[in-house]
Symmetry: C2
Subunit: 296 residues, 2 copies
Amino acid sequence: MGAGAVGCYYGGMLCRAGHQVMLIGRTQHVEAIRRHGLLMDTTGFRAHIPVQASVEVGDIQGASLILCCIKSNDTENAAAMMAPFVGPDAIVLSLQNGVENAKRLQAKLLRTVYPAVVYVAVEMMGPGHLKHHGRGELVVGPSAMSSDMLEDFAKAGVPVRVSDNVVGELWAKLILNCAYNAISAITKLPYGPLFENEDARDLMRLVVRECLAVAQRESITLPGDSWQGVELIAATMSGQFSSTAQDLMRGRRSEIDDLNGHIVRRGQSLAIDTPANQALYSLVKLLESAFTANQL
Amino acid sequence: MGAGAVGCYYGGMLCRAGHQVMLIGRTQHVEAIRRHGLLMDTTGFRAHIPVQASVEVGDIQGASLILCCIKSNDTENAAAMMAPFVGPDAIVLSLQNGVENAKRLQAKLLRTVYPAVVYVAVEMMGPGHLKHHGRGELVVGPSAMSSDMLEDFAKAGVPVRVSDNVVGELWAKLILNCAYNAISAITKLPYGPLFENEDARDLMRLVVRECLAVAQRESITLPGDSWQGVELIAATMSGQFSSTAQDLMRGRRSEIDDLNGHIVRRGQSLAIDTPANQALYSLVKLLESAFTANQL
């Protein structure tokens, strides 16, 4: 569900390994994929994958596994559209940024939805054309996938790590998103050059510190050192522009409400100051409003 | 000294009123002004003003009044170049942003330099072509100008207010610059639309609050309510882009070190957190580094 870069990557990898996959997405991608297959331009191979694609949400019917790869802003709408078609035995995973999407899906679908933490550097280069810059692993909780499914994913080239602290893992990813996404979007710089810049690192340190203060008060146990995580992103995804940067470059609304915006809102509830996150949040909202205004 | 928008505006206004004025500036502006005069496109008139112009700092020799209208980053260099040519009776004013430029000039010129707070919305549209969007008043301390000089300025259409708290006035302007300049530069929006945006106002409030905390610890008495000042700028300079925005659009280094950068440095010295100012400072430095990198 959702044939953006993340949906196309995981759907394409599973299809390539012989699984029956249906991508549900927007017209432009679906038409291109139906005509030429999904062009996967990955660090390991380049191929046209003959994956099925549809614009009809109803075509999820009968799926044994549903990967929700939609933008956070669309979660509620998409869930409402999916609800009538999710079979009773289907397993539903949320492959989304932010820490609230599985909960939101669950509330609308009235069933368990498992969050999966996604680490992949991908972007759509054009209709039905996926570019993969690196990584591709998922992190899920112990009950999200059967051991057969884990094996299927591994065979398909999608390493899945099982964590007994998936909420902490989601927060760890959220903190990385808070550190990089807005700054990459505002400056139009990829992760590597950002991290090499001392001013950017100063700002990212402030952002991470605020996130940690909120996480601590939320009783989140983070799985590792957040700053080491920030360093690792620069090293493993140096050329990557954040999804927020990609959204803004394309004149689309970003997920900032679920990234720095989440920290700001939780900070307000908990009486924790989050001015660095607020600054990044406000600036991205302003940049969004500027292109929205231009479109009017 | 300095034939950018501020230097051209005040030099042009005084020349138009019959005073002998020499603009010291860069080749492109000086050549255009020598050929066609200074084109002043103001809210009150449009005229070619036959003001003298030179690229030679030595041509300040003999001046009874020197208005330093150079960028903060150039203060030290310009002062060193000016020093041999400033006459013993010359009055030197600093018409610059930031709160340290008069002190810096003074240290190099070894004489009193009076700060003047500048409220004018101007920009250079091209070589020798000045566009004035509104306002134009100066604020100086009690001993900066004689009553004759104040009268001369008034007759030339340059209202000068004398304040016995010029340091407080400089800080009031600094706080406005901290609130608007970086955000206007990052979002490429003028003051009016910025202030109408709730997210921008949230951010500006954080910035102003941090500035006030620093100002208070510096024992600065601000002349009025800072937030009312922010509102007034939106009302009186709605279409204006900040000088920082103009600098970045032209691929020039901005004065951010003397604006939000000053608050960050003073905050560090005084152990006052200034994350919102740090965020804006870092982002502008990053945007500067991005175009510097592109030029290499």
